[in-house]
Amino acid sequence: MPEVIKEVPPIWTTGWTDILNTGTWRSAVPVHKKRPAPCHKACPVEGEIPVWTQLVKAEKYQEAWLALAANNPFPAVTGRVCHHPCEGSCNRGEYDGAVAINALEHYVGDLALQEGWSLPKPEKEREQRVLVIGAGPAGLSCAYRLRLEGYQVTVFEEKPEAGGVLRYGIPQYRLPKAVLAGEIKRLQELGISIETGRRFESYELEQYEQEYDAVFLAIGAGKAKSLPQFPSDKRVLNGLEFLARANQNDTIALGQQVVVVGGGSVAMDVARTARRLGSYVTVLALEDGEHLPAQTDEVTGALEEGIAITGGAMVQEVQSSERGLGLACVKVNLDPEAPPGVLKPVVVPGSEFSLIADQVILAIGQDPETDVWNHLLPVKQTLFQIKPDFSTDRPGVFAGGDDASAERYVSSAIGQGKMAARSIARYLTGGSGSVDEEIVSLEEPVPFKDINTFYFPSQSRDYKGTTAAEQRVRDFSEVKTGFSSDQALAQAERCFSCGSCIECDNCFYFCPDMAVVKDATLEEHYRILDQYCKGCGSCVEECPRGAVVLKEESR
């Protein structure tokens, strides 16, 4: 305004309200912050799921894959076999069905193999050497993370090929060998040396402790459990051995009727493999049909393929005869009073029944072969005793995966390998550094109520993703069909991106006080103008994904 105009009767305005400090009204101030998504919190490898799904949404596929691979070198593998607790915790599950995260991972993982994308090279080389025993998911994950930091990593694997349970346990119809080989090859290209056919004996430990700066034991759980009521008979196989042979394309004659004992994932793999070999299969499990430890989709798959599952039953006696094995069975209930992890069957009187089997395959669990190590390292109930940082009593010796945990999920093993690598790196740098500086967040994940569903029009998960059962049982072709690019995009679109700002500007647009400003120089992208913000919380409410929180202020 011109100066002369300011000399006016008091009815004309002379200035603007932006000199007023309305910020003094508030009792709380909004803070833009990245909060953990429930999927991230549930992910065994601490995957940044909202980050890479948003990159998929933006069709930045290679960046998406790099974000995925940052925590897990096997996206194509876990995209197929992960038990995906992420989906179980997905906030969208409370709305219109969880995002099909696992299938998205599958899509991105396959795209990387197809396009031949490489993992990033270490930024610098380090001289320190680490020996990893076992080229299964835990061992290779640990090797990967250490290699990324520039350590020299050697992996010993007693089997002819690397992969561990991925190679010898999981059937091809779930995980094609080429996929696994592709992802392992990429690790070797990164400079990880894998020596296959190299069995490591416990007595060698002291020697290798001298040669290497650290050792990571990831020998897996390769010893099948047995049941006393079953005789030693060629008609009684253990599941691990059966799967290993099937995975090496051995010819196995099973006969017409196969009974699989066990209710876990291995039991399902065994049953479905046997079904593909032409047998009629019955599964007997202690747990009732609703509570089998196997993953739901595995059980569903088995049922679709014509496998009979008898839950809440056990074999009491086995009669061997020319006709086959006569199994005297009985229905049981599990004692709810039993300690956690212990199955205590209680027989239901008068519920006896019998089965005839040409072949019985036991899939009731497996243990690591730790007995030969117990003079060197503490072992408890077949597991290496480790500290929370995966270290053992021996300095520089770490253990993880199935040999140290009863979790027995591929992704858990990968996650443990990753976390062990973090500890090994810290150990190797004298406790100061780590593989990455990521701190495991103690913050609670974003709850569903913090999601503003107006911004997410209902769009059903709409994903089956398997071939027809009749087709499936004919051979070992892969069951999961995977996403088309359109399906992948549609699915990525469904991600709420809980707690991760995607710069949608809603906080900016809904502020009645213009107290939110965009600032590209800030990591959180926005700045709150302290002078004007009245603390109404509209930006918090209108953030579709809970990436703004209100912080109480005291004056």
């Binding site: 305005t13 002379t14 309200t17 500007d505 009645p512 006080d513 918090v540």
Partner: protein, 293 residues
Amino acid sequence: MGYYNIQEEKVFNSGHAACPGCSEALAIRYIINTLGPDSIGVVPPSCIAIISGPQPLSSMRMPVYQTTLEASAASATGISRALKAKGNDHTNVVVIAGDGGTYDIGFQSLSSAAERNEDFIYVCLDNEGYMNTGAQKSSSTPYLAYTTSTPSGKPTPKKNLAEIMAAHRIPYVATATTGYPEDLARKVARAKELKGTGLRFILVLTPCLDGWGVADHAGPKTSRLAVETGVFPLYEVEYGERYTLNFGSKGTPVQAYLSQQSRYKHLRPEQIQEIQSQVDANWERLRERFSVP
């Protein structure tokens, strides 16, 4: 990556005196920041007058004339005609008034300005009552809503002002609300574009946090529920004839909208059902007018 794309000119200032989270302030932002600084505002007594700023300061970087409660449309007429007389064909004249000043005491002058088809934009920020004086009923207050002058609930329905204005056959009538800021800004831009054709009227539902009894952060959410339940459909009418629906009922039960607000907390289930029936009937009646079914 956003949900909205709104171009703003910075006309509305921070530091204004609206309540925290005020829907009217948000509406004003998109009204005057869309019109731009080459505008003259007319504001009658209302919360908008408070928001305009305490003397000697203004929250709007454009001239604003505060008039008397019943005179907004006449005041805007005076400005519009004076500009015309001076040969100015570019400055926007805009009234921003509340529902009391529009539906009730200001209706006579508004209807006359519409009949004369005066060349200005009239925006009614409708918070369904005299909220600035402590929540008394206006003729915009909905059926059964509590106000301090209808403590047992208003016994008669809300006046349908958008339809009344459409019946004046003015160039443009639109309904908008703060939960759909881009739609609001687009309608203001459309009204601006139609300068020279006559009176353009925009009815903006602006939930009053205090008067309706909703949380400080719940303005936009409440506004969207009004749309999704069919209580307040968003549409445009050109020359009283051409109807276009922008956002209408999604079939969300009206209960979802009413239960957010303490002004409806006294309702009995059968009263909610009665409101639902009225909303359904109004929505059906309106639907018949849209050219595209």
